[in-house]
């Protein structure tokens, strides 16, 4: 039977939203391909994630809880993934397009002599083989790609392979990978974690996002953005330009090389609308642009817009929104 393999980080039993989404999408694909879905759950405490992965559609959950994963998740995870692939011989390996999935994908593809397609946004089956879609040239073109002559490895972006059917329940057999991973002195080792502190919802969960770009002009300009976001119960994001200027932390970046978000409402303030930014917010239901340049490309993309200086528009908008919500 054809096998599809997915690997997710599941330390402490927690699998990221994207990890579960990829498992669910992989289960749909497995159903269409009449394949068996094997999910490798990595990290200490991964076993407690088995139920969630079963519900997502895993036919088999393979766990690896080696301690070496804590300090060297990239390298130790790669060892586990390679071993799991050797044991099962998957035709397709689907990994979340997050920092670990993107780390493992090229290296496991190299080891398996597989073809790699990264940052997949959708797929279909043609003559039994998956054909992938992805954005290239910063979102200015869409490529259709397929792998020939061997197994395929792909990294999957949020929203890919989404089908309307509910996930098919998996058989969810649970077993352990059964290898020891000795930490290698050549591996990078985590010595410190600096988690970002954020008030209110995170960008991935937020229903409303107010994002600022270079047009905000400085870190203090993000205050009024925060106020509008606060009134709407939302979060504040940014363009790469604002991150590169050091006005906001890198974790706020939205776009191709930042976060991919899907809020109900996305308000882009002082952002020109480069394709690389729009890739990150394209799944928002309603996009609003506030920009003083009527020719800014963001106005070819947004649903609603105001042409004007945000310093004048934003306080009035915040006041109007507060009034509306109060009344």
């Amino acid at each position: 039977m054809t096998k599809i393999m997915t690997a997710v980080w599941a330390a402490g039993g927690r699998v990221s939203g994207l990890g579960l989404e990829v498992a669910r999408a992989a289960a749909q694909l497995a159903a269409e391909m009449e394949a068996r879905l094997i999910v490798l759950a990595l990290g200490t405490g991964a076993t407690t994630a088995a139920q969630a992965l079963r519900e997502a559609g895993a036919d088999e959950v393979v766990t690896c809880e080696e301690e070496a994963l804590d300090a060297s998740p990239g390298e130790a995870g790669l060892v586990a993934l390679e071993r799991a692939c050797e044991l099962t011989g998957p035709a397709l390996v689907l990994l979340p397009a997050d920092s670990l999935g993107r780390d493992w994908a090229p290296r496991v593809a190299y080891r398996l002599d597989a073809g790699l397609v990264t940052e997949v946004t959708d797929w279909s089956l043609e003559a039994g083989r998956p054909v992938f879609q992805r954005l290239v040239f910063g979102g200015k073109a869409i490529a259709t790609m397929a792998v020939a002559g061997g197994p395929a490895v792909a990294t999957v972006r949020p929203g890919a392979g989404r089908r309307d059917q509910p996930p098919r329940p998996g058989q969810g057999e649970l077993r352990t990978l059964g290898i020891r991973i000795a930490p290698d002195p050549r591996w990078p080792r985590v010595v410190r974690r600096q988690a970002e502190e954020r008030q209110g919802p995170g960008l991935e969960e937020a229903r409303v996002i107010v994002s600022g770009g270079r047009g905000i002009g400085g870190p203090e300009g993000f205050g009024p953005l925060r106020e509008l976001a606060g009134a709407l119960g939302g979060a504040v994001g940014a363009s790469r330009a604002a991150v590169d200027e050091d006005w906001v932390p890198p974790t706020w970046q939205i776009g191709q090389t930042g976060k991919t978000v899907a809020p109900d409402l996305y308000i882009a303030v002082g952002i020109s609308g480069a394709s690389q930014h729009l890739v990150g917010c394209a799944r928002a239901k309603t996009i609003v642009a506030i920009n003083r340049d009527a020719e800014a490309p963001i106005f070819d993309y947004a649903r609603l817009g105001v042409v004007g200086d945000w310093r004048e528009v934003l306080p009035a908008l915040t006041a109007a929104v507060k009034e509306m919500l109060a009344g």
Binding site: F137, T144, V147
Partner: protein, 263 residues
């Protein structure tokens, strides 16, 4: 200490969608009138290498590119930024699998003094594959740390900051290793000084022909085929909320948002 930085020449990623068009036959963008630049994250990688050289003694930086004659541009730029050596693998990438490309680059690196660190961009600003760093690490038999935003020297190697979803990780990175570099306010590529630009004019590049490096195929290699390349569907223009002044436009916007059910 020897640092090797990989530099790729790409079509300027900042050209707007309206100026961008495709050659469906070749499955490549039309390039004729467009400028080419150093791939952006490679600029961040180069900046980190230059800073490591400044932070240590006896650190040498080699810039390496693989591409046609025109790819020389990025090496000229690197020389103007005072890299110690520039190596050009002269040939076309098209038709090579990613793994073979990695083996070509690894073969070029093996002709140099053995590197303590190889720095790549997190992804090239053309096809955005984000694969070469990891594959090159495999071809060189080195560990790989992706999404690094800063590096400093430390006993036995480096201290590296890696950007992940939840924030940053600080890692001890032994050498040798491959890193892929992501953008950060602290690694924006510096501008070249006029006197260095002048001095770089007279400096030579080391050129290696692709044929001299091409390894034989190793077993069965899967390949990735681009079946089609197309432009995204055009979007319609935003409905602009206008009023007598900014405050009125903002109120109109708030009203429209409520009508659309967005607030």
């Amino acid at each position: 200490m020897h640092l090797v930085v990989l530099l790729k020449r790409v079509l300027d990623p900042e050209i707007p969608q309206t100026a961008f068009s495709l050659d469906p036959e070749r499955k490549q963008p039309h390039a004729l009138r467009h400028p080419y630049v150093l791939s952006v994250f490679d600029g961040n990688a180069l900046e980190l290498a230059l800073r490591l050289r400044e932070a240590g003694t006896d650190v040498r930086v080699t810039a390496l590119t693989f591409g046609p004659k025109a790819a020389e541009d990025v090496l000229r730029k690197a020389l103007a930024l005072t890299v110690d050596e520039a190596v050009h693998v002269l040939g076309e990438e098209e038709g090579l699998t990613a793994a073979r490309k990695a083996r070509v680059l690894a073969a070029a690196i093996s002709r140099l003094p053995s590197p303590d660190l190889v720095l790549c961009g997190r992804q090239a600003a053309d096809w955005e594959a984000g694969q070469m760093g990891g594959m090159l690490a495999e071809a060189l038999g080195m560990p790989c740390l992706p999404f690094v935003s800063s590096l400093s020297p430390a006993a036995g190697g480096f201290e590296a900051v890696q950007q992940v979803e939840s924030g940053q990780l600080v890692l001890r990175l032994p050498r040798p290793a491959v890193v892929t570099v992501t953008n950060d306010p602290g690694n924006v590529l510096r501008a070249a000084r006029i006197k260095d630009v002048m001095a770089a004019r007279g400096r030579g590049l080391t050129t290696i022909a692709l044929q001299d490096l091409l390894p034989g195929t190793q077993g069965v290699e899967a390949s990735v085929e681009t079946l089609a390349l197309r432009l995204p569907a055009p979007q319609r223009r935003a409905e602009i909320c206008e009023g007598a002044g900014p405050a009125e436009a903002a109120r109109l916007l708030a009203r429209r948002l409520r009508e659309l059910g967005a607030v």
